[in-house]
């Protein structure tokens, strides 16, 4: 068991550090450090433009998507090396995370199911941030119950014709491409009638409409499909095998999201180190210490669990569904931390103006963004189902639609 860097790892870390010192957009250091949760605010700079620039700089120097094969825009680096990169990238990682859906979820699906030509064509540009991808899975009537989706794909010559609607599609407004799951056969049980594609978001008949979120941002969108044509060559996996394909994406989703865990611990620690409350400096208050200890134990538990997953990866093992715990723990914890931090500040805790509020109002932004963490990429309840069924081996939920043809399943509103 060893946690310190090996000689090679230390040298690699040093190399990254020097490169970042010389090449990172340091004019963004300040705004990135104080930027809220959710969409980032950069003092007048356009976040997407800055993110693309940083990704391009990294790609040109060979630091983008390190662990991908060289042919597809990466360096074939080991999992440990890419972890070291992530650690050293620090606040600038927030820029890179704007590509996480494409690089973390769409890319693994493309790597597994696209043709060699397609991989050569699309992956390097996805790695360099030149082209952005989104994930078109959820629909108004099917989120947790993804396999209940209704968007239709019908074969017409060498094309498929798509009609329907997706919703909650993060980043669709910035995306060149997307992976899309559709229903190709409504007469078989729901998991069997699905097929996966990737498509050009500029295709005729695609209509993207931003949705204003509860926290005021507009990160996600509705996407409408009106007779959109997709060539059969852009099908990922077999006809009717979309469910299996989607599992590749979803497993990587859990890894991608679980990989860079925000918990809110550093923010609350910084607050209570300074904040004065009735009993003195907050950090000296026993009730505060008790909560702080609990949150530290959780965040350190997540960090160490991630380290074990990386260690397993580096030995060639596949990290299992136990990685679902990352988002499950972090989501609720962020919400608790935000609530408690505001509580310590009395009514002033309600102030969301970053110019006035303590800690640039990051904790207030966390209060408003954290509910989404408990929903996106699998709700807390779905994650508990996964843990209890796939890790603990408990019986499946009773399903009212089991074995029923899709078009006979009862629907609500």
């Amino acid at each position: 068991m060893e946690f310190n860097d090996t000689k090679e790892e230390a040298a690699f870390r040093g190399e990254i550090r020097t490169w970042i010192d010389n090449n990172a957009p340091d004019y963004l250091f300040e705004p990135l450090s104080t930027s809220g949760f959710g969409s980032i605010q950069l003092d007048g700079f356009d976040p997407m433009a800055e993110a693309k620039q940083w990704q391009k700089t990294k790609a040109e120097a060979g630091w983008a998507c390190l662990q991908w094969p060289k042919d597809y825009g990466g360096q074939g680096a080991s999992p440990i090396e890419s972890v070291i990169w992530n650690q050293e990238e620090g606040v600038y990682g927030q820029l890179s995370r704007m590509f996480i859906i494409g690089q973390g979820m769409c890319a693994p699906t493309m790597m597994t199911f696209a043709s060699e030509d397609q991989k050569q064509r699309y992956l390097p540009k996805l790695a360099s941030g030149e082209e952005v991808w989104c994930q078109l899975f959820s629909e108004p009537h099917s989120g947790s119950d993804l396999a209940g989706l209704r968007t239709r794909a019908e074969k017409d010559g060498d094309d498929w014709v798509i009609n329907g609607q997706k919703i909650w599609t993060s980043g669709a407004q910035h995306s060149e491409f997307g992976i899309l799951i559709t229903r190709t056969d409504p007469e078989v049980p729901k998991h069997r009638g699905l097929t996966m594609f990737f498509l050009d978001m500029k295709s005729a008949g695609v209509d993207i409409r931003p949705i204003k979120q509860a926290n005021g941002d507009s990160g996600f969108n509705e996407v409408y499909f009106d007779n959109v044509r997709i060539p059969d060559a852009q099908r990922l996996g077999g006809v009717g095998e979309g469910w299996k394909v989607s599992l590749t994406t979803l497993m990587n989703e859990r890894l991608a999201i679980g990989g860079s865990i925000t918990t809110g611990f550093p923010e609350i620690k910084e607050l209570v180190d300074q904040l004065r409350i009735a009993s003195g400096t907050a950090i000296n208050d026993p009730a505060v210490r008790s909560k702080l200890a609990d949150w530290y134990a959780k965040s350190s538990g997540l960090k160490n669990t991630a380290a074990r997953a990386i260690s397993a990866l580096s030995k060639g093992e596949v990290p299992g569904p136990e990685n679902s715990i990352g988002k499950l723990v972090a989501g609720g914890m962020m919400q608790d931390i935000a609530k408690f931090s505001l509580d310590l500040q009395g009514l002033s805790g309600a102030i969301v103006d970053p110019e006035i509020a303590a800690g640039s109002a990051r904790l207030q932004a966390m209060l408003m963004r954290s509910p989404a963490v408990r929903i996106e990429g699998g709700t807390d309840q779905i994650l508990r189902n996964i843990i209890s069924e796939r890790v603990l081996g408990l019986p499946e939920d009773m399903r009212a639609d089991k074995g029923m043809p899709f078009n006979k399943i009862p629907v609500g509103n």
């Binding site: 060893e2 946690f3 200890a293 530290y296 380290a307 074990r308 843990i387 019986p395």
Partner: protein, 366 residues
């Protein structure tokens, strides 16, 4: 980075597991819980034969010198089987105190006997009815004699020697006392298998452990190391309690279906699993810190202690819930895990104390 135990360590763990499975079953445990035995002599001797007590003790003092990582895994198995033996007091507490603070002569005299299991040790601290602070310690040590009463000493019933926290002319010190001529009386606790005793020292012969030292901080240093080992016991116990819950939930039916298909129970067990995993990962890190005597030890130990205490208490509590009425019977083992989890939660000072230590150990910019 390599965040895993070696194959050798895991092999030893497996041997201990098999030994305990075959020799430390229901009957053995119940003979301590309900019979006259204060601990299982046969299990204790079996562990000695395998050299488990001496796992982390240097070979110069009669140990196996297999290191703390291996001892952590042994602790996990002992915790999983609720082994009714004085292992924790003797090895995590007495041995650690003597190794850290004792003189060369004391180490040579005591460690080989503790390593072989021939002698059982413990650490005697608590005197009053609250979480101990230095002022609570009124037992005195002067002119080679100990005087005072230690209210609750884990495995005090069978220990041959104790490291005792006592008041000396210049503050608190750790003192080494053979227990041949002291008065000891069994004291009932939430876990009757921990051999707890009240020990009265009346002009009992003793000697200072090592050179003159600050007893409270020497004890705290021992606690930090012991916390990691106890955390592995707690982890083992938590895991076993979750296994019991899952096993029962698959077999017990209500409303025409296995109770494990009810989402309320599935989610409860998912939460037990989450607590367990967090604790496990923190324990792994703490094991590394213990083995390497790393600067991070104080923080890593407190973190492992806090999350393993939480995990064991949660898993043992909700294991009873999953079992329904059966879980509240003396006959079923659920309460044994519940009892052990609540005793171990207190043995080095309670959760609040460790939460406080954790926060004190945080670096300034976390």
């Amino acid at each position: 980075m390599n965040f895993d135990f070696s194959d050798d360590d895991k092999m030893v763990q497996d041997q201990i597991n098999r030994f305990l499975r075959d020799n430390c079953g229901f009957d053995e445990f119940r003979s301590v819980l309900e019979g006259d035995a204060t601990y299982s002599d046969s299990v204790w001797r079996g562990l000695s034969e395998m050299g488990v007590q001496g796992t982390a003790i240097p070979s110069a003092y009669g140990g196996v010198e297999a290191g703390y990582l291996s001892l952590c895994l042994a602790a996990r198995e002992l915790g999983a089987h609720l082994a009714p033996v004085p292992f924790s007091s003797s090895i995590y507490l007495a041995v650690e105190a003597i190794q850290r603070t004792g003189s060369e002569v004391q180490k040579e005299e005591w460690l080989p006997k503790l390593a072989s299991g021939q002698v059982i040790g413990t650490l005697a601290v608590t005197e009053t009815l609250q979480e101990q602070v230095p002022e609570d310690i009124t037992t005195t040590f002067a002119k080679g004699k100990l005087n005072g009463i230690k209210l609750v000493v884990p495995h005090g019933l069978m220990a041959d020697v104790a490291v005792v926290l006592a008041r000396t002319s210049d503050g608190l010190s750790l003192v080494l006392a053979p227990l041949s001529d002291v008065m000891r009386k069994s004291i009932d606790t939430v876990d009757p298998t921990m051999g707890s005793a009240t020990i009265t020292f009346k002009d009992a012969p003793a000697e200072l452990l090592g050179e003159s030292h600050d007893g409270w901080s020497a004890m705290s240093a021992v606690y930090n190391r012991a916390a990691v080992l106890f955390a592995f016991e707690q982890l083992g116990g938590a895991e076993r309690a979750l296994d019991m819950a899952v096993g029962y939930a698959k077999e017990r039916f209500a409303f025409g279906r296995p109770i494990g298909s009810f989402q309320a129970l599935k989610h409860m067990m998912a939460d037990m699993y989450v607590a367990l995993k967090l604790a496990e990962s923190n324990c792994y890190y703490a094991a590394w810190a213990l083995q390497n005597d790393a600067d991070e030890l104080a923080l890593a130990a407190a973190t492992a202690r806090v999350s393993a205490t939480q995990a064991f208490q949660l898993c043992s509590r909700d294991n009873i819930q999953v079992h329904g009425g059966m879980g509240f019977t003396w006959e079923y083992d659920c309460h044994l895990y519940y009892r052990r989890s609540n005793y171990l939660a207190l043995v080095l000072g309670g959760l609040t104390t460790w939460e406080d230590k954790l926060v004190s150990a945080l670096p300034d910019a976390a």
